[in-house]
Symmetry: C2
Subunit: 314 residues, 2 copies
Amino acid sequence: MRRLPDLTDSFPGPFPVSPHAPHVQAQLEEWLTRYPLIGSERARHALCDITAHGIARTFPTADAAGLEIAADLLLWLTAFDDAHAEQEGARDPAALVRRIAAFLRPGADGELPGGTDPFGAALADVLARARRRAAPEQYVRLTSALRDSLYGLVWEAHELAGGGRVEVADYRAMRPHTVFVRTVVATAEPVLGYTLTPDERDARPVRELESAVGDLAGWINDLASYERERKRSGGRDPFSLPALLAAEHGCDVDKAFEMIAAMCEEEARRARARITELTAPDSASSTATATHARALESIAASYVWHIGHGRYGG
Amino acid sequence: MRRLPDLTDSFPGPFPVSPHAPHVQAQLEEWLTRYPLIGSERARHALCDITAHGIARTFPTADAAGLEIAADLLLWLTAFDDAHAEQEGARDPAALVRRIAAFLRPGADGELPGGTDPFGAALADVLARARRRAAPEQYVRLTSALRDSLYGLVWEAHELAGGGRVEVADYRAMRPHTVFVRTVVATAEPVLGYTLTPDERDARPVRELESAVGDLAGWINDLASYERERKRSGGRDPFSLPALLAAEHGCDVDKAFEMIAAMCEEEARRARARITELTAPDSASSTATATHARALESIAASYVWHIGHGRYGG
């Protein structure tokens, strides 16, 4: 049994869960009836289930409409990744580039108007709802993070097509985009209804917290999904941190798991220290900063929660 | 002699020129000494010359520091396009994707922190200055437009590598990104110091004006650069509107030039009508909207001016 990180000191759980989880799951199923992003009924149910339960931990205090937006967007990214990026993208990177280009047609300000296939139409639907809810700056920030997530998929497809030998530093830099955590973080303000000032957003503890949660999300996902991805790609090493770190250090994957588990524990400690600092009763932080820190805490918790979930089980 | 559009009715000129043009040209030369983006001295001087004189018409009323930012950013995009996109990008699209990925590393909010090669360092420099000058929303909007410009180059490289046969509608949709006009438009607010409200930004005449100027910029560029691009690619049709339109209509390039010239004249009339409407003394438009319309007028004028300039001469 490979070592998984023990994050109970930093993120002990149990994690708060939104009471809207069942509603969101039903709404996701309905959304996928309107926008058929996933062919297999079994895969559809599984993705609605894990997305609803994950997002209910990501934003446990969100109202139902906000949680629906966050859930739809995350499900859209996951379904798009499954259908058109990953293996499919690596087989034909140019097709992926063209498909994403269709989302970038100049339209309304910051708008990604979509195109006419189900993915384009579904994206236009969820973004229109996000736009109505968000302040203009929040919306541009969200679509900017989404652009980076999509660019991350393009990058990943090309690296995969080229054999998947990238330096660990380059992989680590892109991983927060490809795991979508930056887009999830960008949804927090409009979904939870707070606004950071520029100074609050730039404050060093906030930046460090976002960085730690970004790393943690990607690395946890890489560990938790390793066996599943290996099976999917016919026994080859997946394009993820364990294999890249093993190659760079000349060690085996078990040893790489050890190292990554320790890295996760360290990032979790960093995140926890910043959360404690930013939410302390006697802290100089504003209410918005404390709310943001709590949002990042629950975003991290949702990834920690994923370690034990079926989609990623070995 | 192929027909070029006659835009004198809509954009009669002479176009106002910033008094800072010589200063900006000297500053560009200095900037390229610090950031050696262009190897050939002759090419460097030529690009500094046309960028300074073009941008001096794009933002004739800007202050010197604002004009420097706009000039550096436009020069950066042009130099990056020449060095790493276009032919080079088509030869190795994956290398272009990786190079742009290095600009997208998560850093400060909306920041594109660059990487360590001259292009990364130069981009970080100009964006840091833009960020100090811009409101947070303006800055995110600018880097979002810049992301789209870079994505446009990725798209173009893949289409070129795949033979360059795309539908005219798809080409037209991406052209405002690849000609960088959307990024130029996004610099207007921070450079000229005005701010549109969300309602002003979404107003139909404003959207139509931006769309007309976006189309006009790309089409003018395609006509004006046709012979130059053809020579550069060894006599093959460049990846631009004349060849694509000729292929789609089964006509020759001369006829396509006729059609595009007429399209340009029509877009110029659309743009002029909206500018007149938005800047009329008895208009209901706000001061910011009128300033924005004037900015789009001079942005369009700078592309009209390019028709006659040496870089694009047949």
